[in-house]
């Protein structure tokens, strides 16, 4: 928002919140989008109205976008490298005869 002499803080844009919804019991909260709200309570109400109009969720988290720390794309390689060479973390790494049941 451009700042003009009249543009005092009450008119400034409401902060951005990221919204996470738990679709049903047993699932993780998943990021669904974002919205603007004046405060946390309003963010929750807006999230309910915007993102769960058809019972898409049993629980909502809202978090101010400026409170999130994210890995940057430039860091991608070094940050995720530790898991890149650990193929033994995947079940397909292990040779098991095909006739072993339930595995």
């Amino acid at each position: 928002m451009t700042t003009t002499p009249n543009d005092t803080s009450p008119r400034a844009e409401w902060p951005l919140y990221e919204v996470f919804v738990r679709g049903k019991r047993g699932l993780n909260h998943v990021h669904v989008g974002s919205l603007h709200a004046a405060d946390d309570t309003m963010a929750l109400h807006h999230a309910r109205d915007v993102y769960t109009r058809r019972n898409e969720g049993v629980s909502i988290w809202v978090v101010r976008a400026d409170a999130i720390t994210a890995s940057s794309p430039d860091e991608k390689d070094p940050l995720f490298a530790p898991s890149g060479d650990k193929v033994y973390r995947h079940p397909t790494f292990y040779d098991v005869p095909a006739d072993v049941p339930h595995m």
């Binding site: 928002m1 803080s9 009450p10 008119r11 400034a12 844009e13 409401w14 951005l16 669904v32 989008g33 974002s34 919205l35 603007h36 004046a38 405060d39 309003m42 109205d49 915007v50 109009r53 058809r54 994210a70 940057s72 794309p73």
Partner: protein, 338 residues
């Protein structure tokens, strides 16, 4: 020196992601032209959802039954939601919501030409659901695979909700078609008015749409305007037959060789006029949006003031009220002061 090498490397990575049909995400590097094209398209799409509430919203207080009113209310509310999903996607490209709103009410960004036509009867609510939301679905289903992640995800949410919009409209028209001669005439009159503007929703013909090739190359669009228009006509013709209405195009007929319908061209000069602001309702739509925005200013300011005033004190008060055990409460539930 190294900057241009870096940029070339980044562009190469970007092109590689597009070539693999993977998605570009907000924090990725992207060419400025890609970003600008997306901002324009996603903003225009968001504005269309928001302005699109007006033609039907005008009938909310005059719905013929409580059932129709509840349905229309839910539909119009969905369109507000679609606008918000899309604004939220657009903001990930580095534009602010306030800026987007301002560009809409200043006329610097556009919205779909279809919403500049008036709704003259309740049959129009049905026709809009059937033809306008139907055309929107044709447009939006391939956009679920658009190359920009947030836009595609917004489209998936939107598409899930659109089929209700189209079906309620078709059902409304079916009901009217099984009514009196007068009601059937209302439906036909409405379809006559909306058919050509609905075809214009896909934009100008391919040979007059210079940006299409680049949007296709970037994976922003997945089909050309004419491809989508053809698909819409082919889908709609049997629906019109089943409904018992005539589509107002003397050139419309099945082409066995092509395995598709031939159809007439909309009046492209009319589309140009409507897009450039001279449609029947352009001024009214923008004035209404501007008024709603300005009339809501005090609400936004009050909410901000409330948020500031209650921020820390609010938290403290909530804790104080929960802290004392029940023994400290008066019989009427008031907390005793110590």
């Amino acid at each position: 020196m190294s900057t241009s090498t870096d940029e070339a490397r980044l562009e190469e990575q970007f092109e590689a992601v597009i070539a693999r049909h993977e998605r570009i995400e907000p924090r990725d590097w992207m060419p400025e032209g890609y970003r600008r094209t997306l901002v324009r398209q996603v903003a225009q799409h968001a504005h269309s959802e928001i302005i699109g509430m007006q033609p039907e919203g005008a009938w909310l207080t005059r719905a013929p039954s409580l059932r129709r009113k509840a349905v229309l209310l839910a539909k119009v509310q969905d369109e507000a939601g679609h606008g918000l999903y899309l604004y939220s996607a657009c903001e990930t490209l580095g534009v602010s919501r306030a800026e987007l709103t301002r560009m809409l009410i200043d006329g610097r960004q556009k919205y779909s030409s279809i919403f500049n036509y008036p709704t003259l009867s309740y049959a129009d609510v049905g026709t809009i659901g059937w033809l306008v939301d139907g055309a929107a679905i044709c447009n939006q289903v391939p956009l679920c695979r658009t190359s920009y992640g947030p836009y595609g995800r917004a489209m998936i949410r939107v598409c899930k909700e659109e089929s209700f919009h189209q079906r309620q409209g078709y059902e409304l028209l079916m009901t009217m078609m099984s009514g009196t001669d007068e009601q059937r005439a209302m439906v036909q009159e409405s379809v006559d008015r909306f058919w050509w503007p609905a075809l214009m929703m896909f934009g100008p013909p391919d040979d007059a749409s210079p940006n299409t090739a680049r949007s296709l190359a970037w994976g922003i669009k997945r089909n050309t305007n004419d491809e989508l228009r053809q698909k819409f006509v082919d889908m709609t013709v049997p629906q019109a037959e089943r409904l018992g209405v005539t589509l107002p195009d003397p050139d419309l007929r099945w082409n066995e060789e092509r395995g598709a319908h031939d159809f007439g061209q909309p009046d492209w000069d009319e589309l140009t006029r409507v897009i450039s602001g001279a449609g029947p309702c352009n001024a009214e739509r923008i004035a209404h949006r501007r008024r709603a925005h300005e009339d809501g200013a005090w609400v936004r300011e009050a909410a901000s003031a409330f948020a500031r005033a209650t921020k820390e004190p609010g938290r403290d008060r909530a804790q104080v009220e929960q802290a004392p055990g029940s023994s400290l409460r008066d019989p009427d539930g008031r907390v005793e002061t110590r």
